[in-house]
Structure formats: structure tokens, C-alpha cells
């Protein structure tokens, strides 16, 4: 407990929630993430942008302790993820929208996570209501639409009432109403002073949601900073992105 509060205080005093330093990940001869450095200030929604295969998901997996870096550091709240005491209480993350057992009810899915994270069972119903899944909570996940599965994943990430939310392509496969819902949800989350890192290759959507961007290409940092600085002088995010990633004619 003291440790966790310490984590948060350190992060808040430095204003940095995520710090990635010279992060490198190689798979055999392939360099998926190449000497990547960036940091996320607290209270922002940062779009993590790049073409398909740029290394976005790999970077998030390194950040979340699911993969080990070849070199460099990825720190969350000042520590490596796997060294956090109760990570679910400071970080929530969804990497794949479909990560639930089809034969288990949405509610039981969340209950297993709450038990493991030592989060009171009442919180399960709270997060189900938060993502509008309370009506279908006892149905097996197999009967859920893609949008419902995505929201179930999100509910799982919110169980510990985290300070940082990390989402990999959360708008993928969502219908317009689902995208709208997600955007509003992320805005509200960030308005409470919390931090969001959201990867995307859908630039028009990202431009409407995020206030900061980190752009990578072929594993390397291309740009990072405030969205309004990147899109000055009438330049759209798409223009900036294509120019920076070298695709522009």
C-alpha cells in the first residue's frame, strides 16, 4: 500500500506516468522496436500512431511486462511493470478485444480478474454498469457482439480504478456508435486527471480523441508532442503523419 502511494507520488511529482528510454526489442534478425524514447505526461490522452507493423503493439507489450526488452527501459509510474505490487490498481490495459473465454459469462470473466487482483467483488458490478454491460452480464461471452467484447475488456481494465489506461486499437471493428461511445469514455476518463495511451492507425478518429501523439515507424520514433503543435498551419494529422513516415509524394 505504502509502495503504491509512493509510486503515484513519484509519478505525479515528476509529471511523468510512462517513461520509455532507448527501448529496443529484437526477434532474431528483426528489430521490432529500435531505440525508442518517449514519455507521457499525466492527465493526457496520447495517441500512439504508426503504420501497421511499426512496432506499436510490441512497445505496449514491453511496457506492460508481457515481453522483455532486448535493451532499454519501459517504466510505468517509475517502475518496471512486473515490479509493481498491485499493477491492476494503477494500470489498466486491453491489448486484444477478444480476450475472454467464450463459454464463460462476462461477469464471471471479471470476477476471476477481481479475485486475482484482490479487488472487492462489488466493483465487478460497478464496472459492468460503467461500460453498459449490466444487462448481459450473466450471458456467455460467445453471445456477445464485437462491441460488447471490447467493452468487456475495457471493464476488466477498469476494475482497479487505474491512473493509466493502455488500449491497443480500441476502435477496431467498432460501428460508429461504438466509436463515439469509446471517444466519450476516454475523454471523461482523462478529464478526471488520469492518463490514456491509445494506439491506432486510424488517424481521423485519433485526431478527434487525443491531445498528444507519439508517432513511430519501423520501430523508431518519428515525432512526439502535442497534437495542436503537429497540426499547425492547417495541416491535418494525416498530412503530418504521411510526411513524417515518408509515404507522402
Amino acid at each position: 500500500m505504502a509502495d503504491r502511494l509512493g509510486d503515484r507520488r513519484n509519478a505525479l511529482s515528476s509529471g511523468t506516468v510512462v517513461e520509455v528510454r532507448s527501448l529496443t526489442k529484437r526477434y532474431g534478425g528483426l528489430t521490432a522496436v529500435d531505440d525508442l524514447t518517449f514519455s507521457l505526461p499525466g492527465g493526457t490522452i496520447t495517441g500512439f500512431l504508426g503504420p501497421n507493423g511499426a512496432g506499436k503493439t510490441t512497445t505496449l507489450r514491453l511496457l506492460l511486462g508481457l515481453a522483455e526488452p532486448t535493451a532499454g527501459d519501459a517504466l510505468v509510474l517509475g517502475r518496471r511493470y512486473r515490479e509493481l505490487d498491485q499493477p491492476a490498481r494503477s494500470v489498466g490495459a486491453v491489448l486484444e478485444s477478444n480476450d475472454a473465454h467464450p463459454g464463460r459469462s462476462g461477469r464471471d470473466h471479471l470476477r476471476t480478474l477481481a479475485l486475482a487482483a484482490e479487488i472487492p467483488p462489488g466493483r465487478v458490478d460497478e464496472v459492468l454498469a460503467l461500460v453498459d454491460l449490466d444487462a448481459v452480464a450473466t450471458r456467455r461471452v460467445r453471445t456477445y457482439s464485437l462491441g460488447m467484447r471490447q467493452r468487456l475488456g475495457l471493464a476488466g481494465s477498469l476494475l482497479g480504478d487505474p491512473q493509466l489506461l493502455v488500449l491497443d486499437e480500441p476502435a477496431n471493428g467498432l460501428d460508429p456508435a461504438g466509436v463515439h461511445w469509446m471517444r466519450r469514455f476516454l475523454r471523461r476518463f482523462a478529464e478526471e486527471g488520469r492518463t490514456v495511451l491509445v494506439s491506432s492507425h486510424m488517424l481521423a478518429e485519433a485526431a478527434q480523441t487525443v491531445d498528444h501523439v507519439v508517432i513511430i515507424d519501423r520501430g523508431r520514433l518519428v515525432a512526439s508532442g502535442r497534437l495542436d503543435e503537429l497540426t499547425r498551419r492547417g495541416r491535418t494529422l494525416e498530412d503530418a503523419f504521411l510526411e513524417l513516415t515518408g509515404v507522402a509524394s
Partner: protein, 248 residues
């Protein structure tokens, strides 16, 4: 660790997988024991070693299904992607594997008791209807059922270890089935030309616990110790592999 054990218990209870495997196992035990008791010639079934072998089908099938339950506690999470959320919540991954071993041992022991008791029950009744005297005594029965529980519990732990090492569900389950149903059969006895190393294999050790093959296999106690060593080794290697390798 307690919290993780509770989480793993809920994972097992909240899908139909374990109940389905239990039903399949009990069906197969009934069929196997009935077929052997009713179809084998009476003069063979009058031998005590054959009676023990037929009644021991319960233990054999319990070890197989317990191993599948243990393996699926990990491979099913890999298959459905829940392993990511599991390790995000519990980044000390060896504890997750430990909790899976603990829960699988309990489920495996239950499978073992159920299969062992069903097999001796059906076998006794079936032999009785043919007028064949059952030569097994109370301690033979106790050894068959208790041995089934112990062997299935330890094989469930081996299943978790193998699942943690292989991770991919289909190769894991096919591998366990092939090992227990086929490969060990080739290696036990002198057919392989390697002498009697076969009795030190984990499937043969499981059979020995139930009192099978006093001439060819280990004594029950030695089988138990050896199988426990296999289970401990599988658990440790499974923990190390899970800790060191990246999660997809």
C-alpha cells in the same frame, strides 16, 4: 497466493470444460470396465492380476483426463487470450502457475476418486453377474481408489507443467494422449530392447501406485515418490519457462 487460488478455482467452475471432461471420463471408465469384465474369457478373469488390471482402468483414465484438465488450465488461457489479462493482473507469473498446479491437483484427485470408485464398483458387479469370484480384498480396493486419486492428482500437476512449456493447446493435448496411450506402451516391458527402464516412466509410475504389475512395475510407494518427483519437476520447469518467455 490465496487470492490466485480462488481465481483459478472460479476459472475452473465458470465454464463447462471440467464438467464435460468428468462426464466423458466416467462414460469411458464405465464402457472400458464393462467391456473387459463381460467380454474377456472367464478363466482369464479368475486371475487376480487381471481383475486388478480391469478395475485399474479407472485409474488409467483418471490420470489421462486429470492431465488434460491440468494442461488446459494454461493452454485454454493461451488459446482464448485470457493469459494476457491474467499476467497483467498477476505479473509474478510463477505464482499463477503455482495456483494452477494447486487447483489442478484438487480437481485431479477428485477425478481419480470418482473414476477409481466407479471402476471397482462396476467391475465387481459385472464379475458377479458372470459368477466369477472377485479375489481382490479390502486393501486391494483401497489401493485402487487411493492410488487413482494420487496418480490423477500428480498427473494433473504434470499436465500444468507440460501446458506451461508447450502453451499451444492442440499439440499439448495430443502429446499427452499419445504419450499415455501409445508411447509408454511401447517402452514398458522389454519390447523396446532397453531393458525395464519403462517402469520408471511417469505413466508406469502412476499404474504402480494403484498396485498394478507387482512383478513388472515399481512398488506402490516407490511409484508415488517417483511420480511426485516428475510432478515437482514439471511444475518447476513450467514456472521457469512461463517466467522467462514473452507472452504472445
Amino acid at each position: 497466493m490465496r487470492a490466485l487460488v480462488h481465481a483459478e478455482l472460479l476459472k475452473q467452475r465458470s465454464t463447462r470444460t471440467v464438467a464435460g471432461l468428468l462426464a466423458a471420463m466416467l462414460g469411458l471408465v464405465s464402457a472400458a470396465v464393462l467391456l473387459h469384465s463381460l467380454a474377456l474369457p472367464a478363466e482369464e478373469l479368475e486371475r487376480i492380476d487381471l481383475q486388478r488390471l480391469v478395475f485399474g482402468r479407472g485409474e488409467f483414465l483418471a490420470t489421462l483426463f486429470a492431465a488434460l484438465v491440468g494442461a488446459m488450465s494454461i493452454t485454454s488461457e493461451v488459446r482464448h487470450g485470457t493469459i494476457r489479462a491474467t499476467f497483467l493482473v498477476s505479473p509474478k507469473r510463477e505464482r499463477v502457475v503455482g495456483a494452477k498446479v494447486a487447483v489442478s491437483i484438487v480437481v485431479g484427485a477428485s477425478f481419480g476418486v470418482a473414476a477409481g470408485a466407479l471402476a471397482v464398483g462396476i467391475g465387481t458387479v459385472a464379475l458377479g453377474t458372470r459368477g466369477i469370484d472377485v479375489l481382490l480384498e479390502g486393501r486391494d480396493y483401497a489401493l485402487l481408489v487411493a492410488g487413482s486419486a494420487a496418480a490423477a492428482a500428480l498427473w494433473a500437476a504434470i499436465g500444468v507443467g507440460v501446458g506451461a512449456i508447450v502453451r499451444n493447446q492442440v499439440p499439448t493435448l495430443v502429446g499427452i494422449c499419445a504419450w499415455l496411450l501409445f508411447f509408454e506402451g511401447l517402452l514398458v516391458g522389454d519390447a523396446s530392447g532397453l531393458g525395464d527402464v519403462g517402469r520408471f516412466l511417469p505413466g508406469a509410475a502412476a499404474a504402480a501406485i494403484g498396485g498394478q504389475g507387482p512383478d513388472g512395475l515399481l512398488a506402490p510407494g516407490a511409484g508415488l515418490v517417483l511420480l511426485a518427483a516428475y510432478a515437482a519437476a514439471a511444475t518447476v520447469v513450467g514456472m521457469l519457462a512461463t517466467n522467462r518467455r514473452d507472452v504472445a
